[in-house]
């Protein structure tokens, strides 16, 4: 039917290597999410703070993250900042790029979620003697994370997909990087990338299903 002979076994023989790559991909994605969430909470706090310069820093971060390509952010983290003599390994550059992106998008989600929480909640906490920070930590934050849970799941999926951009900064241990290396060896472009696509698809499905499971466990109210 096609003028091309598929050689799936050739490509499938490399599956173990690709799965190793998938593990690295997950490692980057999970790390970037964990750090990203922490930073996003921090950015949210900065944006809530009365201080103008702090607000400006947070807003700038969020807007740059949301309004420039992720590829640009990652490329910048490697080749851009190197102009200041700061060198990051490909892994670190990729992690920084994705984390920067995650934090920006998540901070925006958190802001939307905060709007949905009435400020009487903080008042109620404060009048029980809690400090501003305690009220945020114990009352606002958990509710915010719940409202933002679905967007967070989507961001996690994007984080996984974004790891594929690591090749532009010399990353070759993640799933995409491994696949590209194998392709250079064998020229079985279609088969190899098709397998990579399937692995990515499965990963994202596991994430969305897992998130649903976690949500049903975590949010019983």
């Amino acid at each position: 039917m096609f003028g091309y002979t598929f050689q799936w076994n050739q490509a499938l023989a490399r599956l173990p290597k690709m799965l190793d790559g998938a593990a690295v991909t997950m490692e980057v994605a999970v790390l970037s999410m964990l750090i990203g969430i922490a930073l996003a909470v921090l950015l949210t706090l900065l944006r809530l703070s009365g201080s103008r310069p702090l607000k400006a820093i947070a807003t700038t971060w969020v807007e740059i993250a949301r309004n420039t390509p992720a590829l640009f952010q990652i490329y910048m983290a490697h080749f851009g900042v190197a102009s200041f003599g700061i060198h990051f390994s490909p892994f670190t550059s990729l992690l920084i790029g994705i984390t920067f992106n995650n934090a920006g998008y998540l901070a925006e989600n958190f802001r939307g979620a905060l709007k949905a929480i009435p400020d009487t909640q903080t008042r109620a906490g404060r009048s029980l003697g809690m400090s501003q920070l305690q009220a945020f930590r114990y009352i606002i934050l958990p509710q915010m994370l719940r409202i933002a849970f679905l967007p967070m799941t989507n961001q996690m999926v994007w984080a996984v997909l974004m790891t594929s951009l690591g090749v532009t900064v010399g990353m070759n241990t993640d799933l995409y990087g491994v696949t590209q290396d194998l392709n250079a060896l064998t020229f079985r472009t279609f088969e190899l990338f098709a397998i990579a696509a399937v692995i990515f698809y499965i990963i994202t499905k596991i994430i969305t299903l897992g998130a649903r499971l976690i949500a049903s466990r975590l949010f019983r109210y």
Binding site: H78, A82, S83, V167, G170, A184, L185, F187, R188
Partner: protein, 246 residues
Amino acid sequence: DKLDDIIASGTLRCAVVLDFPPMGMRDANNEPIGFDVDYCNDLAKALGVKAEIVETPFPERIPALMSGRVDVGVASTSDTLERAKTVGFSVPYFAFEMAVTANEKSGIKSFDDMKGHTVGATAGTFEAIALEKQVQEWGTGEFRPYQTQADVFLALSQGQIDATVSTSTVAMANVKTGNFPGISVVGKAPFDTDYVALFTNRDEYGLINYLNLFVNQQVRTGRYAELYEKWVGGDLPSLTVPNAYR
């Protein structure tokens, strides 16, 4: 067969990589020039047809051939056995020596000095594959493949990597541009010579046969030496392997 088709159509379409000086590049007027370009023109002349240069980046070479966008690849393609499962190679028409280029700050003076350093090369090339293997053998240091030759030299001049292995021709050409301050070619890499071959579809025996004879004729008539002198210069690498048929 394809050979007939080419002669009948009156044009030979060659896949050439144009960001790989001096094998393929563009002059000030954006016209393709380089060793591979001349080689394609010679081939067309031998066939009695017109040459058409199709710019094809490294990863695009095989898809371009498969989709029939080109007839022959004259694209500095290493003739590995893996790849030969997919395309048909002629006998080698060129051979690269591998050279080490280092950032002067790194203090690397030879191939062996690279041990323990962060090194890089263009993803998917012969030298990248060999260098990555070497780094693994050394067991220390780090290997980074970048997407383009340009990124490799950018990373090298920024000091993100300390050294790279590339074909000596490319290394010379890049250092000569002056675009990358602080780097210099420091020696040869003891890798196998990288023989590169013309390629076409695997089952086009007639054409492959013709290509083999053409390469042979280029050497016999001295045209190979002439082109080498024009684009590269220096000692003419031998295209034959002692005690081997091909």
